[in-house]
């Protein structure tokens, strides 16, 4: 049914994540975090102007004039309201003062544990991933962690990560196809994006799930704002390559 939709997978992911920030006190995003960039930007525009936006360059509450491809770009510092270094943002997390943090995993298992480190054969590294950046600290100490992942397949969503880069306070997992919530010790399907079906999701998920309703679709207001701010479709960049 995807031909009928007037929005992309990136759009519904961004909008879904933005709505999760309606009551957030602050939100942190890291490197290579394009979709969180748009989600935080949209949430501040539409739902939660007092949301404190924290990022790697360490400028609080930037007002980017356009969407950069790099999420440590100077646009993340543009017209910020104060300077808090990355080390100090990690300290905030360590003190339990980070409310929402966006993290991602190349592999994410049924417990919400994730791997950004590597795949090994037990003795040597077969595939080296980028590394978890600040994930281990952030995931264990922030109040609510939102994982996002633009790929939804069994390689990503598996029974158990061989290598755990980070784990902890996972709150939601927003994928290209669904939203999971962390409920007790495991991930539970919360909603399915309207372009796909429960059967397809079962097919692409490496752990057991139960049926769930569709994810609420983006509104015209949300889509209009995103398109106006991002005419070059930088928000699609995580779906490329």
């Amino acid at each position: 049914m995807s031909e009928e939709l007037n929005y992309s997978k990136a759009d519904i992911m961004v909008v879904t994540m933005a709505r999760l920030l309606k009551d957030a006190e602050n939100a942190f995003m890291g490197v290579a975090s394009n979709l969180p960039f748009f989600a935080i930007w949209l949430a501040k525009e539409l739902y939660n102007p007092n949301l404190v936006w924290l990022n790697i360059p360490g400028r609080v509450n930037p007002s980017p004039s356009y969407a950069p491809k790099s999420t440590v770009h100077a646009q993340l510092s543009h017209k910020g309201t104060a300077s808090v270094t990355l080390a100090e943002i990690f300290d905030m997390s360590a003190r339990g003062e980070l409310d929402v943090a966006f993290l991602s995993g190349i592999q994410i298992d049924f417990q919400g544990y994730f791997n950004l480190s590597h795949i090994s054969d037990g003795t040597r590294i077969m595939v080296q991933f980028p590394g978890g950046a600040g994930s281990a600290l952030i995931c264990a100490n922030s109040r609510r962690v939102i994982l996002w992942r633009t790929r939804h397949d069994k390689r990503t969503f598996n029974e158990k990560c061989q290598v755990v880069t980070a784990s902890g306070n996972v709150y939601k997992v927003v994928t290209s196809d669904v939203v999971f919530k962390k409920d007790g010790p495991t991930l539970q399907l919360e909603s399915i994006h309207p372009h796909t079906t429960f059967e397809e999701v079962v097919e692409n998920t490496g752990f057991p799930i139960s049926p769930a309703p569709f994810t609420p679709e983006p509104t015209n207001e949300e889509l209009g704002l995103l398109r106006e701010f991002d005419p070059e479709n930088v928000r699609e960049i995580e779906f490329l390559g």
């Binding site: 510092s77 980028p130 590394g131 281990a136 600290l137």
Partner: protein, 264 residues
């Protein structure tokens, strides 16, 4: 005062097997020109560290300069993909990747800066990273559990690129400092490349930002565009074309040509 050197002289200060904390983050205000000089001089066995890196560490892998990388993240961002030479070097066992959480790099540098053998940190959850570190008993606790610690790492050099320095190395970073100032304090000595060498009076106009003191600086080299292909805000942004060009290098010949062409 004798600290103003050529890039070649500054590079010669670094010995094989030295440990370098390299400033900037990803493609922001990195010591790009100095990294290429290390490659041209054929350094071997370097140990490098930073929270999140791509071009500089990837190039040092390609050129065979590094043995060990301590970092939280080594990758380009979405448009460029992973760091290919880093990946290959680690997968082929030529480089040891000591994966950290970015915060444990910071904690290791803080410990060095404060002259103590370790730094306590908050917990790292259930993680293979947590298992790299040791715990101690909280001497002020009520037996309420152990505290995770990170051992100090003392870099021989902090290698930083800045917007402005005087000839003694009294220097100013404008915009995000990333981990540069912690590196400057943790390292034994500092090597600076700077967009511009300015008179001390110009440093004094922004003295509250002059957080790099000349007395720890061993070399200052003026290199306009010295963060290339990275950004040095507000002077210039990173060059996507040049990063793409770098990523096409496949062999030593192409690398030598690249290093020749991009000097500094």
């Amino acid at each position: 005062m004798g600290k103003v050197n050529t890039l070649e002289q500054a590079g010669a200060l670094v010995n094989d097997r030295d440990r370098l904390a390299m400033g900037g983050l990803l493609l922001q205000r990195i010591p790009g020109a100095f990294t290429r000089e290390l490659a041209r001089q054929g350094k071997r066995g370097l140990k490098v560290m930073k929270t999140a890196a791509n071009y500089d560490f990837d190039l040092l892998c390609l050129a065979g300069c590094v043995d060990e990388i301590a970092a939280g993240f080594v990758s380009f961002e979405a448009e460029f993909g992973f760091a290919p030479n880093f990946r290959r070097s680690v997968q082929e066992g030529r480089v040891k990747f000591d994966e950290n959480s970015c915060y444990t790099v910071i904690a290791a540098l803080r410990a060095a800066a404060y002259g103590v053998p370790f730094m306590p940190i908050a917990n790292l959850g259930e993680s293979y990273l947590a298992s790299k570190f040791k715990t101690v008993n909280n001497p002020y606790g009520n037996g309420d559990g152990d505290v995770l610690t990170v051992p100090a790492i003392y870099p021989d050099w902090a290698v930083l690129h800045v917007q402005k320095s005087d000839e003694d190395g009294n220097a100013i970073i404008y915009g995000p400092v990333f981990e540069d100032l912690i590196m400057a304090r943790a390292a034994k000595k500092i090597i600076l490349t700077t967009e511009k060498i300015v008179p001390l009076t110009e440093i004094q106009e922004d003295i509250d930002l002059a957080a790099i003191p000349g007395f720890k600086v061993e070399a200052v080299v003026e290199i306009p565009n010295g963060a290339f292909p990275g950004a040095c805000q507000p002077n210039y942004d990173y060059s996507p074309e040049s990063v793409e060009e770098y990523l096409t290098i496949k062999d030593n010949g192409a690398l030598a040509e690249y290093l020749e062409k991009n000097n500094p």
